[in-house]
């Protein structure tokens, strides 16, 4: 990758990657480090983009997703990436901003469900793009998204009900 290619990729995708990493890890500092490491890997050809395997955006999201999962494993070595069990424990909305409550609910999802919902809802990737970025089967992505939405609906029930009343 040339310097100009790298500059274009960085300018075009840094915000998507940073937002995803920040939502995935819950830390601005870690997110910055991950995006930095992601582009350093690309620059040093530690990972090589091939247009046959999808868009540049999917490729870079795939790289940062792997870095984020590695970081999560480092922080919590026994963390289950994909849990079948539900995480339906409604959050307590007292004294918190709505955005903060949503962040708390999303952070409570198992990592693979979390990444699927982040990519679908916030970055508006198609199912195919999510499958490409995460190296997963389309059916697995659909299943994770379905379970993530169910879990979030349950956890955010107090807010959804309040919203319905307004």
């Amino acid at each position: 990758m040339t310097s100009a290619d790298l500059h274009a990729a960085y300018a075009g995708h840094k915000d998507v990657l940073y937002r995803f990493a920040r939502r995935m890890t819950g830390s601005a500092v870690v997110a910055e480090d991950l995006v930095h490491d992601c582009f350093l890997m690309v620059w040093r050809d530690a990972v090589v983009y091939s247009p046959n395997r999808g868009t540049m955006r999917s490729f870079l999201i795939g790289v940062i997703r792997n870095l984020a999962l590695k970081q999560l494993r480092r922080e919590r070595p026994f963390l289950e990436l994909e849990e079948d069990s539900g995480v339906c424990e409604p959050i307590d909305p007292a004294g918190k901003e709505r955005g903060e409550l949503v962040a708390q609910a999303v952070a409570g999802l198992p990592p693979l469900q979390r990444e699927a919902i982040l990519l679908a809802e916030y970055e508006e990737l198609s199912l195919e793009e999510i499958a490409s970025a995460t190296g997963s089967e389309l059916a697995a992505v659909k299943s994770r998204l379905h379970r993530a939405r169910e879990n979030l609906r349950c956890r955010l029930a107090p807010l959804l009900e309040m919203k319905g009343q307004v």
């Binding site: 310097s3 790298l6 500059h7 960085y10 840094k14 915000d15 990657l17 940073y18 937002r19 920040r22 939502r23 601005a28 910055e32 995006v35 930095h36 582009f39 350093l40 620059w43 709505r98 955005g99 903060e100 949503v102 962040a103 999303v106 919902i117 809802e121 916030y122 939405r149 979030l152 609906r153 955010l156 807010l159 959804l160 919203k163 319905g164």
Partner: protein, 99 residues
């Protein structure tokens, strides 16, 4: 589940806003991209403690070995015979001692 449930959830999820990449990230990425050669002057590398300690000991031993002057050995000493003059008429006097 109603069809609008997903829309309601999506709308609620969007209330969690996160800013884009901070300027500090730009500075970090641009720094190594444009001035990568400066790592030769200002870069740093991580060295595991055991390896670092071993290197320090080796360097210390080498410097001690270099600083210490080697002890003169008889085998290595040379004799210069340039000014040597044999005695012309040696008058050897034999002294007999009494035992």
């Amino acid at each position: 589940m109603e069809p609008s449930d997903d829309q309601k959830l999506s709308k609620l999820l969007k209330e969690w806003q996160v800013p884009g990449a901070p300027p500090s990230l730009d500075r970090r990425v641009m720094a190594w991209r444009e001035r990568w050669w400066k790592i030769l002057l200002t870069g740093s590398i991580r060295v595991p403690v055991p390896l670092g300690a071993a290197l320090a000991v080796i360097l210390l031993l080498m410097s001690v070995a270099l600083v210490r002057k080697p002890a003169p050995s008889r085998a290595d000493s040379t004799v210069n015979l340039v000014d040597f003059r044999p005695v012309d008429d040696p008058q050897v006097r034999i002294i007999r001692g009494q035992l």
